[in-house]
Symmetry: C2
Subunit: 875 residues, 2 copies
């Protein structure tokens, strides 16, 4: 059964290879496959029958087993099976990664602790360990899969928009990402794991999908795969923080522009299952007594905070907003600085691993606990810092730190000389730039967790200040409720991470992380304020990375940009559209292909009518042209001519229509050849070779067989210019048996002749319904449609006539504000009605006129032309 | 300034009245308005200058004030101002409604308590009070705004899809909904408020939007209004439960199919602000010490539940799934039963208030505390029951209820004869059918809260059983942790309400309601299982109501219906499309209008080419036709003829082209009239009257001026048949001054002549880019596109040629499964690639042929027709 599946898979692979050559071939293949499936069905029924015929006691058992197997396999296609598997795999991966990271960190501590006799050795150990790990991580990912570098969220955002990013969802990348991430986080650098986990989960989903497609066909549906990837993103965040709800929401906010609510349950289901397994593993490993939150807090339930504390929370929110924007800016600045400094860059490019090593060296030197690290709790890992920051006890009782009995890890925050406020300030400032710097290292890493910790520290700072300011807490009906600085830390963490990522759902994540929801209102208020400030100042970290990496993504419409409602497609569209007409010649095709660089070209009925019929991919046209001017056809022509010459010698007939004749013949032979290629297994393997690239691109590019002409040949040159293909040596050898060659002049003449022929679009894949907009469509609506449908370009039509084109580029420009509406436009009344599709203006009326006139010019069998003319007059 | 705004508004109102008559008018109006705006701008600058010129001390102050005012007014357009206002208003409304409900309920208790001397009087008081309130509520809403009846969520779902439901967002409805809801909930019936609150919030948003549009123009944008409505839904749920996050998520799940993530912050912002104010009001009213959860629980944090308890939670989830489906089924059954029983229905229809009164009587009799109510905690209000059910103490220690000291309201669950298990079971069973019945009463009410309480009771039952089964709790490392039945109640509440509404976000709502998130995993697991079961069995309550009310909504694609990926548009489209051609006659138009009932008709180039140019609304065509055959034109004709007669008497000239002449003249005069109408203020007010309906419909329907012909007239009849308009008496009177009448036969002849003329589309609003699909688009993608863009229909084209149409109806049929793909189709390989737009099949090739052939038939100045023929041969 599985073998059968593999066969079909292989068959389809072959077809993929074939597809995009000639559609005729596809038809043949479809028939073949139908026959093959029918056959295999018969075979299967035969095997069933043979089972029935099989006498014996175990026959029934076997039948039963077979049926069960069939049932199970049919079930494999169900979504929930896939989601459970995905959740399970991700929980295991997450747990294993966490386990390895913990071991790595413990090893560092152990080394550092064991060498406490000698400070220099201790320093060496403290510094060398992360440098080695980071360098290994950077080198490993560089070698295995450079796509694994970085967060992965920007890439997933782009992929979910429908863009195909090569190599981002392969097994190699998976391995590189998992191992690279483990090493990077094991080094103790201020790096996060939520971005890479999103990527890892998506990789899992993609690989699982590939694996499952061995059993059922549903896994090959592209739309479904994208839905599954969206669910996988939720799983990634969900099992990273053991926060299923926050994970789903965060992944939606971070990756989607428009979210299909029908995918909602998928995310929840998989993320919950994953978080459940992730926590169950911890219980089984005796880490925890039962399933609880990752960073459990124990704030009092009765009076979590007072109304009068809300201004402080609002201050945290606003400050976090500025801080978040600064972080994004700093991060981008570092990347751009390194890119700009050419001498440095050159040096670093040669020694790719030098930059990570240097950065790690710098950071780990600064955090060396006996050194500067003593002022910033340097010996605590990220997780330990967070636990201490969320502690429900107040550190600075009465404003002085002495009275507090620092237990366990909290001791790290205590310093004999400086008080806890200074420690916190140093921690925040140092970690801030360290995190911004560390996330530029080319290893798999995110920035969420470092930012989260910095935010918690900032919140703690405000909280401790409040506690010092109001040492007796807030009085209420005689009861004294002390201020809980831990609550401030929770608020700060949510606010700063929300500001950096431009998400609101960090609020939910902190509730799930801490297991307490009592501070819901302060957290929500702070997060919203932080978002408002940060979004006004900077793009989100992920959008910033998208811009740095120049990924093909459409920016969002910002918070309430009203002017976007007033810009219309006619203001931003390109009016000079490249098009081809239905009755154009190959020469026109050639010229159009030479001048433009768009991926698709519009097909219109004629230059006069400009009625849009469809769009054709550039590659299709190139293959049409190469077919027309290709070597095989010329060979045919030569053979034909030689035959003719023989005939001529026999009878001197009228030679006017010989050209035509030869062409028809050549056509027939050509098609015979292609049919041969498709129906028989490849005896000549070479012609299939050029088709391989088609597998990797969504558009089908055909590599033309190169013409064996000299560079001086005019049109041969043009073709070369178009295709940039290397000379096909094999084809040359292959066709070496044809004895008769044309001279250069003859070839040029022949090509000129061929170019004057009308294009035959029958072999061409035409997109018969490209997306169309109207001139009056607002930018807002256009943005919505482009992001909803994942469009790349759309034609602007007016009553069937093509008048312009809008591509992502124009839209991006318009949104980023480089296009402004000229002058002050009086917004036409009732514009919103017109947005809904029905538009009517004088402009269109005149266009309708043109169509009208055209019709009148046609010889119609009616006499009412005069009356219709009189009708038109009043206009 | 405000007056200026009002002026503009009034002006636009006039334009709305005007719009849809003739586009010429619109052009004139646009120019006029532009002139007016320019003028007012000049006036404004003049006033500015005059201010500057004004000498004196307060001049600067005034300028400053004016500037501040301008600034403030310009800020009014910002989203966040609107959202804050919305949140504020909703919090106030919510608080006032809650307050009134509490007073009503207290009054009932007080009456009941005061009359404890006489059981009969007590019963009368217990029963009469809710009957009066419910009857008043039903009567009030019936009289003021019948649209206020019911939940409102189904209607909001439909409105957010882009369908315009009349009268659902008016001030009347707002008043009816608020007062009706207060009375209905004050009666103590098992009714909820979350659905009505969603509706009330949307009403608030719509009214606020109208109010704000007095200051700024942005509030008139349709797209923005829908975004604001979506935010309003979140506010509604958010301030109903003081649960901002859950509110946002619940509203998304319940109302949207595709959610724009850019609206996310709006919902969060407004809902948080609203929840904040709502709780602050409670604090100020001294109800609460500080801002806390509505139904605060005090479960222990350390060991909330054990892994071994998870199966019990799963059981709650699955049972709730079945229960939820049963509830929806029961609710629908009751509605259908009442509808079917014609004798009952007739009686009830006559006495509209009898049904609510009867239902209330029945329910309140059964809950009468000294009667049957003692077995089901009848004296507790909904809120009190919930509080007791979520109590963190165990009721049934050691399996026997005696030991427990029932305090306060919890006493109600104790009964001397029966134990707490029986009470709970009776409560669940009785409340179940009571809630299903009560929600069919025609008052503003929801079903969420009753279901939530039932779920909590069910969870409590399971929890108490578990506590009785494991009296010593779960042993863990020597520590004994008792089972917390309150936690089970939380799980049950979330699961059952999730099952009824088909949402996952009820999980978040319970966390926010209880203020504890410790049971996150059990809740998530139960909710997901409940959803899985319920979605497999029944539609959600809201979808069920949508079906009962037959609202125009597209059903969802269910959980993983794989076959939907394999159905294509060609399987479901209607091939026999009604269309009109560019050069059709009025007769064709007439025939097309007579036969079809579609709202829009396709406009194609010609019957041969079938190239789709656009679509025209039926109403537009009707107006075209009525214009052509209308009274004014005929009067012109008559006048013309009489002039001609006079001329004839003078000189006997050639009368062949008189017809043509007369027509031209009539045309001119007609246009003169229309220009008059538009440029001057209405001296004749009657012609504007028929345009009023246009305001209420999104499509512009023009009521034709009726022809004063006898019923025997053929085409006059036809027109009547089309328009069903009553004879316009005024028009008749108005034109009574024309002395010359035509005979019936003449009229018929004249109309026949008019019908043979070619249609002039210049005055017609054409949608130049109707949405197009390809035959091979999958049902899945079609559904996505329809719900994303809120489409009503889409044309199916193939290389510009119209080949079919798909409307919501076909799509709905296909999704509900009445259309199956004929036979077993071999799915063409690489279908998913083809989904992405590029499709190519033999079918299309032949169609391209046709276009091709057509082109060849045209006299093109080329000689290569033979060569192109030879090209085509191999096909």
């Amino acid at each position: 059964m599985a073998g059968d599946g593999t066969d079909q898979r292989a068959l389809q692979y072959e077809q993929t290879l074939m597809y995009g050559r000639y559609t005729q071939e596809l038809g043949v293949y479809a028939k073949e496959e139908a026959a093959r499936i029918r056959e295999s069905g018969q075979r299967r029924s035969v095997s069933d029958r043979s089972l029935h015929e099989y006498k014996g006691r175990c026959a029934k058992c076997r039948i039963c087993t077979v049926r069960c197997q069939k049932f199970l396999i049919s079930r494999v296609g169900e979504d929930w099976i896939f989601l459970i598997l995905l959740g399970l795999v991700m929980a295991l991966v997450s747990w294993v990664v966490d386990f390895c990271i913990a071991i790595c960190l413990q090893a560092q501590k152990w080394m550092y602790g064991g060498l406490d006799s000698n400070l220099f050795l201790q320093y060496l150990a403290w510094v060398t360990y992360p440098v080695v790990l980071i360098t290994f991580s950077a080198g490993f990912t560089q070698i295995l899969a450079p796509q694994a570098v970085g967060s992965g969220i920007p890439e997933m955002k782009t992929i979910l928009r429908g863009v195909v990013l090569k190599e981002y969802l392969t097994f190699k990348t998976f391995v590189a990402k998992v191992i690279g991430l483990t090493c990077a986080l094991g080094s103790g650098m201020p790096l996060g794991k939520e971005g890479p986990f999103v990527h890892i989960a998506s990789l899992c989903a993609a690989l699982l999908s590939k694996f499952m497609s061995l059993f059922g066909g549903i896994y090959e549906n592209e739309a479904r795969n994208i839905e599954m990837l969206a669910a996988a993103c939720a799983v990634g965040v969900g099992c990273c923080f053991a926060a299923p709800i926050g994970g789903v929401l965060f992944s939606i906010e971070v990756t989607s522009t428009f979210f299909a609510v029908r995918n909602y349950w998928r995310g929840f289901f998989a993320a919950t299952f994953s978080a459940f397994i992730f926590r169950v593993l911890a219980v089984w490993n005796k880490d925890e007594e039962t399933i609880t939150a990752l960073f459990k807090t124990r704030f009092r339930l009765d009076f979590p905070f007072d109304l009068q504390e809300l201004p402080a929370f609002a201050v945290i929110g606003i400050a976090s907003g500025f801080g978040g924007a600064l972080f994004v800016y700093l991060n981008r600045l570092i990347v751009q600085f390194i890119r700009k400094q050419k001498t440095i860059t050159k040096f670093l490019m040669k020694k790719r691993l030098l930059y990570p090593a240097l950065v790690t060296l710098l950071i780990s030197t600064l955090t060396f606990p006996p050194g500067f690290g003593q002022f910033m709790a340097g010996k605590l890992t990220q997780k330990e810092s967070l636990v201490t920051l969320l502690d429900n006890r107040t550190w600075a009782k009465q404003g002085i730190a002495e009275e507090f009995d620092y237990l366990g890890n909290s001791q790290a925050w205590q310093h004999p000389q400086v008080n806890v406020f200074v420690t916190l300030v140093i921690f925040i400032v140092m970690k801030f730039w360290m995190s911004a710097l560390a996330t530029t290292i080319p290893v798999p890493c995110g920035a969420f967790m470092p930012v989260f910790v910095i935010g918690a520290a900032f919140g703690r700072l405000v909280g401790e200040s409040m506690a010092a300011w109001f040492p007796d807490g807030i009085h209420m009906d005689g009861t004294i409720y002390n201020i809980v600085p831990g609550g401030y830390a929770v608020v700060g963490a949510a606010a700063l991470s929300g500001a950096v990522t431009h998400t609101v759902s960090t609020a939910v994540i902190v509730f799930e992380l801490t297991g307490q929801i009592s501070h819901i209102l302060p957290v929500m208020i702070a997060v919203i304020l932080a978002n408002a400030v940060a979004q006004a100042l900077q793009p989100s970290l992920y959008d910033s990375i998208i811009r740095i990496k120049k990924l093909p993504y459409l920016p969002e419409l910002g918070w309430g940009h009203h002017e976007k409602y007033n810009i219309r497609v006619e203001d931003i569209m390109i009016r000079d559209v490249r098009y081809i007409t239905l009755n154009c010649t190959y020469r026109d095709l050639h010229n159009v292909l030479l001048t433009g660089h768009l991926k698709t070209l519009a097909l219109v009925e004629s230059t006069e009518s400009m009625i849009l019929l469809g769009s054709i991919e550039r590659a299709q046209l190139q293959s049409l042209l190469s077919q027309q001017l290709g070597h095989p056809r010329r060979l045919e022509y030569i053979r034909e001519r030689s035959n003719e010459d023989k005939k001529k010698r026999l009878s001197v007939a009228s030679s006017q229509n010989s050209d035509d004749c030869s062409q028809r013949a050549s056509q027939e032979v050509r098609f015979q050849i292609t049919t041969e290629e498709s129906s028989f297994s490849p005896t000549r393997t070479t012609p299939q070779k050029p088709l391989k690239p088609a597998l990797k691109r969504s558009s089908v590019v055909e590599r033309p067989t190169e013409l064996p002409t000299s560079p001086s040949d005019n049109s041969g040159n043009a073709l070369k210019h178009l295709f940039c293909a290397s000379p096909d040596a094999e084809a040359l050898e292959d066709d070496g048996d044809v004895e008769d060659y044309m001279t250069m002049r003859e070839i040029a003449e022949w090509e000129e002749m061929q170019l004057d022929e009308q294009v035959n679009f029958n072999n061409c894949k035409i997109d018969p319904a490209p997306f169309q907009l109207v001139e009056r469509t607002s930018l807002h609506k256009t943005h919505t449609i482009f992001s909803l449908l994942g469009l790349d370009h759309a034609y602007v039509t007016s009553i069937g006539r093509l008048i312009g084109v809008v591509s992502l580029k124009e839209l991006r420009k318009a949104i980023e504000g480089s296009v402004t509406v000229k002058g002050v436009k009086v917004r036409p009344p009732l514009a919103s009605f017109r947005d809904s599709g029905t538009s009517s203006s004088e402009n269109e009326a005149t266009e309708l006129h043109k169509l009208w006139d055209r019709h009148k010019n046609m010889p119609l069998p009616r006499e009412n032309t005069t009356s219709s003319e009189s009708d038109e007059k009043p206009l």
